[in-house]
Symmetry: C2
Subunit: 232 residues, 2 copies
């Protein structure tokens, strides 16, 4: 027979009381936690469930598949990046800022980045981001047709760069990366000029540009091309 609680003593809620029901947002938050864990290698639905203290099947009551979860994660990630008010005088820098932030965020979550391919965004955060980017391009004098065609290409490019950076970050330390790049550079320098004349001759120009500055250069090239308009 359990003792009755003393009169007027505050009755603690049973900590084993029914947990609040799961929600898709809670699942997304758990996925972000799991993906941010140091040394992670790919999201697993089981890990998400464990993080929530719940059976795996319970997760499937909130999201229909891992792929859908990763799409939601992608949207949440875009929600983290700051969207500036377009300033025609600084539009180009603003584009670099916003896309640079996007690369940084996506590079930390390659699984989510992968889920972004082949899906045209309709979720709130991504739409807001796209609107901002379009406004910046228009502020830069780029034609509506070039924006309509180029928006997609710009995002694809960002995603590709994010995947590239993510591989570097996951598979090697900054020192290892430096050594690797040095090795590759030496290899290109030593290429036989008979079979690879151009490749060998541009090798000296390859050194000294990190991923960030090559990315900046790539985005700049696309922006210049968009400004030139469709039909070269």
């Amino acid at each position: 027979m359990p003792p009755l609680p003393p009169p007027r003593a505050p009755r603690r809620k049973r900590t084993t009381s029914k947990r609040p029901p799961l929600t898709p947002d809670a699942v997304v938050a758990a996925a972000l936690d799991v993906l941010s864990a140091p040394g992670f290698a790919g999201l697993s639905m089981r890990d998400v469930a464990e993080h929530l203290g719940v059976g795996t099947a319970a997760v499937y009551a909130q999201v229909t598949s891992k792929d859908e979860l990763l799409e939601l994660v992608y949207d949440a990630l875009v929600g983290r990046i700051a969207l500036p008010a377009p300033d025609p005088a600084r539009w180009r820098d603003q584009v670099h800022q916003i896309l640079g932030d996007l690369v940084t965020v996506l590079a930390a979550y390659p699984d989510a980045t992968l889920a972004g391919f082949g899906r045209i965004p309709t979720s709130a955060n991504i739409l807001r981001g796209a609107e901002c980017l379009c406004a910046l391009l228009r502020a830069g004098g780029i034609s509506d047709l070039a924006i309509a065609l180029g928006l997609d290409q710009l995002i694809l490019h960002v995603q590709a760069c994010a995947l590239e950076v993510s591989v570097y970050q996951r598979t090697m330390s900054p020192e290892e990366l430096g050594r690797y790049l040095q090795e590759v550079h030496d290899y290109y320098l030593a290429l036989p000029a008979v079979t690879y004349p151009v490749l060998a001759s541009i090798a000296p120009d390859m050194i000294g540009h990190d991923a960030a500055s090559r990315f900046r250069f790539g985005i700049d090239a696309i922006l210049t091309g968009l400004a030139a308009g469709p039909g070269h």
Copy 2:
């Protein structure tokens, strides 16, 4: 007691004679076969082994990991694309040709495409392809520095487009894709102009451009940007 073979009768080689030893090339060929099978969804080392009629562990005697195998597959795929002799009068079309072929090939093998991120190529076919591409860019009057910085960006862009196309190809039929794009277009057209003024206003410009023409536009933009040189 088995009967002796009749005198002078040709002795058939036992069909169960020792198979020729496995080679990395044989493994790559098997991987390409498996990946080309209709309705495939991701390469598995077990499938490769089965295709070779061999235990799974035997594959690991030829390639150290699935990732290495996919890198070899990538190189083999690049070996399939035709490399034109650079003609300064047609360099731009030649670049479109070669990169268009690359997208087509890679889109059919997304697993291999993924293995291309974060790895600077040193294999024969890819080096040959890179040399050709560099020669074309130089024939187009693009500076060595812009080539050194832009080559990487161009390839990343191609890989991103290939991934995009691969998702469309794998998850829907051409008719389904058409319907999907129509739906998305309608969705963008109906976007509230208060929150998404630019996005809503460019929606009409979004229709009527398939992945191939958007890709061509993107590559064109990059080429124009590279020709403008580094430092916008």
